[in-house]
């Protein structure tokens, strides 16, 4: 909300021009019935008047003034709309980019607090509500003040008594509007939430369809979807019945005012206290004052919709992302990473290690032991506590985020692929990479043969999340992406889980070559002993703690988890 006001303040020139134009429009609208009044009185006096040609010329005169007034109304209306639109539509864009910037600073854990579908709707649907609010809100407020105020003044000057009696229904209207507004706002919020829930249900069902089909649970998911739909109907019918009858219903109240004016005013005309022209123009004013009154109703509808939207936008804009880019130090090149007694409230209970450039650290441990979580802290994908993670002996929290991350090549455990071509995916970190470089990376990840066998080679579109590739192919495309990025720090999280032994050896061989040539700082997380047995140092994690550590040879000798794993996998019980 505050953000909106700040923005509006910065645009005050445009808004001022718009307001002036709007006020001019209102003034001319108020003048209009005066000419109608004069014209009607003129017509009435006609029967007794004798100078017809004079009369006709005056009537034409009035008619021209009326048309001229409204031409001016049209022009000034165009002017204020133009300026307000500029303000509103530009804000729309700015707001959207601000939200997007925020999202881009979210960590995975921040994102998990929301649904993706819901975050998307904040970018587009909610910003649209705010845009409408700026347009409608300003017009309505000014109209209410200027048109409403001036109309009442004019009406009072014409007949104070008549003004007084015609007001009560308007008060009823205002009360009604206030009640309906707050009711609608509540219901709107429920509707938005239900809609979000429905969206998420469809999304999840589509993504998990294979599980649903294998276990033949279609009926169950159908039932879940129907339940949401039924709740949606329940709230929707009530809300929209009120919303769509709200506007016309308000005009019933206006009608009531008109009847009162007619009743009392008719009396006055009959008893000669008022002329018929005044009565007719008075009725026009009632219509006119009804407009700002009604628009209070409209304002409330728009407001109740946009209030939920503004709240939702504010929620993300004021959301404090876990990872804040407050560090200022720069790093050139990486000489070492040190982790000192890292703890968190999820799984880690004090892990320490240190790796230098050119070294390879291997990490293994049972599922859920915290390997992936640990890796996410290093490039600050998740936020580590102060004094826990150091690069070049500098606390990562003191390093500018981009300067830190610039040094990482990361192969995540879930290979995240984009719905583009294989080429786009491999070259993601280096869009300027040449064809040779891409092929080199694909060969390094031992996926080049597979790519060549694809229908269009590198230009094959892989579908959402890389769905048309096999599990192992997906994993290796993600490895190729990291090779091509070629940074100082190489992190591989379980990179060999989906490949066969032959391919596994191929990747390990290339990796060794790569390390020998480029001597990056390498960390490999794996359940596969061959993937880590060549490391300089190995950590075995369990339950967020280091269970064993040492060189792989030492660990293989020592009696422990590592040596058992080693025996299971490399025991060589062939003959």
């Amino acid at each position: 909300m505050k953000r909106l006001f700040d923005y509006l303040k910065s645009q005050w020139k445009k808004i001022l021009i718009a307001f002036i134009a709007l006020i001019l429009v209102d003034i001319m609208q108020i003048l209009y019935p005066q000419y109608v009044r004069k014209a009607i009185n003129l017509i009435k006096s006609l029967s007794t008047d004798t100078d017809k040609s004079y009369w006709i010329s005056v009537l034409w005169h009035y008619a021209f003034i009326m048309i001229a007034l409204y031409l001016a109304v049209a022009i000034f209306r165009l002017v204020y709309r133009w300026f307000l639109r500029t303000v509103a539509v530009s804000y729309d864009h700015q707001l959207r980019m601000a939200i997007m910037d925020k999202y881009l600073s979210f960590s995975e854990r921040d994102l998990q607090k929301f649904d993706i579908g819901d975050l998307m709707s904040r970018l587009i649907r909610d910003t649209r509500s705010v845009r409408r609010f700026i347009m409608m809100g300003t017009i309505i407020l000014v109209d209410l003040a200027v048109l409403g105020g001036m109309t009442i003044v004019t009406m009072v000057s014409m007949s104070p008594y008549l003004t007084l009696v015609s007001v009560p229904p308007m008060i009823i209207l205002t009360l009604f509007v206030l009640w309906a507004g707050s009711y609608m706002q509540k219901k709107f919020k429920v509707m938005l939430e239900l809609f979000g829930e429905m969206t998420e249900r469809v999304r999840e069902t589509a993504v998990g369809i294979k599980v649903i089909k294998t276990f033949v649970r279609e009926d169950f998911f159908m039932k879940l979807f129907e339940q949401i739909n039924d709740r949606y109907i329940g709230t929707g019918v009530k809300l929209f019945t009120l919303q769509s009858s709200f506007w016309p219903l308000s005009s019933v109240v206006v009608g009531l005012s008109l009847v009162i004016v007619l009743w009392v005013g008719g009396d006055m005309v009959m008893s000669g206290k008022m002329d018929i022209g005044t009565l007719v123009s008075f009725m026009m004013y009632i219509n006119m004052i009804a407009w700002p009154m009604l628009s209070v109703g409209m304002f409330i509808t728009v407001y109740s919709m946009s209030k939920s939207a503004i709240q939702r936008i504010d929620e993300v804009l004021t959301y404090e992302p876990e990872v804040k880019d407050t560090g200022t130090r720069e790093i050139e090149g990486v000489s070492n990473i040190t982790v000192k007694d890292i703890k968190d409230d999820i799984v880690l209970k004090g892990v320490s290690f240190s790796v230098s450039k050119g070294q390879v650290l291997g990490i293994t441990g049972p599922p859920g032991s915290g390997k992936t979580v640990l890796m996410k802290y290093l490039p600050r994908l998740w936020q580590p506590g102060d004094g826990m993670v150091f690069v070049n002996d500098i606390d990562v929290n003191d390093i500018r985020l981009a300067s830190l991350r610039r040094h990482f090549s990361y192969v995540p455990q879930d290979p995240i692929l984009f719905a583009g071509t294989v080429r786009d995916n491999i070259a993601f970190a280096r869009p300027d990479a040449t064809e040779e470089e891409i092929i080199w990376a694909a060969k390094m990840a031992c996926v080049w043969d597979d790519i060549q066998a694809l229908p269009k080679g590198l230009d094959t579109v892989v579908g959402e999340r890389g769905i048309t590739l096999s599990g192992g192919q997906r994993q290796r495309v993600s490895i190729a992406r990291a090779f091509l990025a070629g940074k100082d720090i190489l992190i591989l999280d379980d990179p060999l889980s989906a490949v066969d032994t032959h391919t596994e050896r191929c990747i390990i061989k290339n990796l060794k070559e790569y390390v020998a040539q480029h001597s990056p700082l390498t960390i490999i997380v794996s359940h596969r002993i061959p993937a880590i047995h060549w490391a300089d140092y190995v950590l075995v994690l369990e339950g967020g703690k280091v269970l064993e550590e040492g060189t792989p040879e030492e660990l293989a000798e020592r009696d422990g988890l590592y040596s058992r794993l080693y025996r299971y996998q490399m025991g060589g019980d062939v003959e």
Partner: protein, 572 residues
């Protein structure tokens, strides 16, 4: 539109009630100026107090009376709309779930979601908003002209000059605006697709420092959206400023001048002129937000077309005429199976034959991408084979009732998927299975150890996709899920790929017992897990190149031997 009609027809009574309500409401509204005219001419100007009062009551009655048909029709229309929306959504949802997997690999999730949620919402907007508005506009426009002629034929004839202008404005301008707004819709769709993609890949974007590039790309689209909005708004404004006010005053000024002439000739009254002024106000209303209506209708037409196309998607794997029902025993036979994924030409399975006797354990090994997962998918009829056949209990699976075939099998997919919900729900998938059985299954696969340590045990909430569990933990849960459903066929696609060898061994023991009496098809890259298999098939580029027990294959000194030796050879 035919599609819409199909659904509206079901609730025609509500539609009829809605239209009747609307008609009454407009009639009440339009009769008032007519009565006011009588009031002015016959009573006020003639100083007839008694008659005036009587007339006033009538006017009051009609004024207040508008409310009843109004609320009534709005209610009826909304009931109709929401029922129709629900029906469409349910049909689409069911239709989606019936599609074969090919549909899901070629249709982005964002598109499916948009069709079922947003597109149906646009149809709802039109059903509850634009269509009633148009019907009411037609009632108002015809009604006003009828009353104008009733009030004063001559004056009405003069005003008739403006009728073509109204028509031209309404139709001509609307068409133009429509094109502008359809462009906006396209840009908005692009914006949506981009944000969905960005949001699902944030960690990767961040760690590879691509934030500025991605942002710039998004900004370009957002700017295009802004510019096209601006253009469309500007033109709408010009239209609105010109049409409404100018047309209105011209008509009112005409009423006054022409009325004056007619009064002079004695063929009109002041009441007539006043009534005309009011009716002209009503007449202008329908064209005031014509642009909105056009765009909404346009939105809906294109939404309906998209929904229709969605409903026409037909990637079903149909059941046979009189399908074989019952529970499969578990005798599986592949007979010279050939298969290429729909939309591609290259066969990824090229003539595979083998059989799995009831209760036996068959293992598939081979290079990555050699077609192992594909081969397993075929057994459950996720796709139909192109050539050859697969038999279960000696019946071609195309003759089986699909649901029965699948119910008899349980699968652990290569990529485990968990739904948002509790751990327990994820294991039972909504089936009524007692907790003891769930725990028993979890114990067998060694998932119980970590589940019991979670804050709420089996009632701990899992995020969509299992985001708050480690990959290995997800795999354990999907293993438990498969066991708890007591299949006669068990299909494991690298079910322990993300699990350490020690836990794997423990699971193996737990599974041995479960696998007794069940036919098991399993894929594994780690040969240690499959040594006990009754038969091992070695797959290479979609062909079975070797087949036999572990010992037999080792003796052959072929590909299996090679892989096996490689695995045991030290990593150095």
């Amino acid at each position: 539109m035919k599609l819409l009609w199909k659904y509206v027809k079901r609730y025609w009574i509500w539609a009829v009630l809605g239209v009747i309500g609307m008609f009454l409401q407009i009639f009440f509204k339009l009769i008032n100026p007519y009565l006011i005219r009588i009031l002015i001419d016959q009573y006020i100007l003639k100083n007839d107090f008694v008659g005036a009062t009587r007339m006033m009551y009538l006017i009051l009655g009609f004024t207040l009376g508008v409310g009843i048909p109004l609320i009534f029709s709005s209610w009826a229309i909304n009931v109709l709309t929401f029922k129709v929306m629900k029906d469409i959504r349910m049909d689409m949802f069911r239709h989606m779930m019936r599609q074969g997997l090919y549909f899901f690999s070629k249709t982005p999730t964002g598109v499916i979601v948009t069709r079922i949620t947003n597109d149906v919402a646009s149809v709802g907007d039109v059903l509850a908003g634009s269509i009633p508005a148009i019907v009411s506009d037609v009632f108002i426009i015809t009604g006003v002209w009828v009353f104008l002629f009733l009030v004063n034929t001559k004056l009405a004839l003069i005003e008739l000059v403006f009728a073509p202008i109204i028509a031209i404005l309404a139709i001509g301008f609307g068409r133009w605006l429509r094109d502008l707004y359809s462009h906006i819709r396209d840009v908005r769709a692009t914006l949506n697709i981009k944000s969905q993609e960005i949001l699902s890949a944030i960690p990767i974007i961040q760690v590879f420092v691509q934030v500025p590039r991605i942002r710039k790309d998004y900004e370009k689209t957002s700017l295009e959206y802004r510019n096209s909005l601006f253009k469309a708004f500007f033109i709408t404004d010009i239209f609105n400023a010109l049409s409404g006010p100018v047309l209105k005053t011209s008509m009112q000024a005409t009423a006054i001048v022409a009325g004056g002439y007619l009064i002079l000739r004695g063929s009109s009254t002041i009441g007539d002129v006043v009534a005309f002024l009011t009716y002209i106000n009503y007449l202008i209303e329908p064209i005031r937000d014509i642009a909105d209506k056009y765009t909404m209708i346009q939105d809906a037409t294109s939404a309906i077309m998209k929904i229709q196309r969605f409903m026409n998607e037909n990637w079903y794997i149909p059941d046979a005429e009189n399908p074989h029902t019952g529970r499969p025993e578990g005798y599986i036979r592949y007979d010279n199976v050939h298969f290429a994924y729909p939309g591609t030409k290259k066969e990824v399975i090229r003539g595979v034959s083998f059989e799995a006797l009831k209760g036996k354990k068959i293992a598939l090994v081979g290079f990555t991408g050699s077609g192992k997962s594909t081969l397993l998918n075929l057994a459950l009829r996720f796709y139909d084979v192109n050539k050859g056949a697969i038999y279960v209990d000696d019946i071609d699976i195309r003759q089986w009732k699909k649901d029965d075939l699948r119910s008899g099998a349980a699968v652990v997919l290569q990529e485990p998927f968990l739904f948002k919900g509790t751990i327990r729900d994820n294991i039972t998938l909504g089936r009524d299975i007692p907790l003891e059985k769930v725990i028993d299954a979890a114990k067998r696969v060694h998932a119980h150890d970590f589940i019991k340590d979670l804050p709420n045990g089996y009632d701990t909430m899992v995020l969509s996709g299992g985001a708050n569990l480690s990959v290995g933990q997800r795999q354990l849960i999907s293993l438990a899920r498969a066991l708890v459903h007591h299949p006669s066929i068990l299909i494991l696609d690298e079910a322990t790929a993300s699990i350490d060898s020690e836990t794997e061994r423990l699971i193996q023991e737990g599974l041995e017992e479960v696998m007794k009496g069940r036919t098991t098809l399993m894929v594994a890259h780690r040969l240690s897990t499959i040594r006990e298999a009754d038969k091992i098939l070695v797959l290479d580029s979609g062909r079975v190149v070797e087949e036999g027990t572990h010992e037999e294959l080792l003796k052959k000194r072929g590909l299996y031997y090679e892989l096996y030796m490689l695995q045991w050879a030290s990593g150095q």
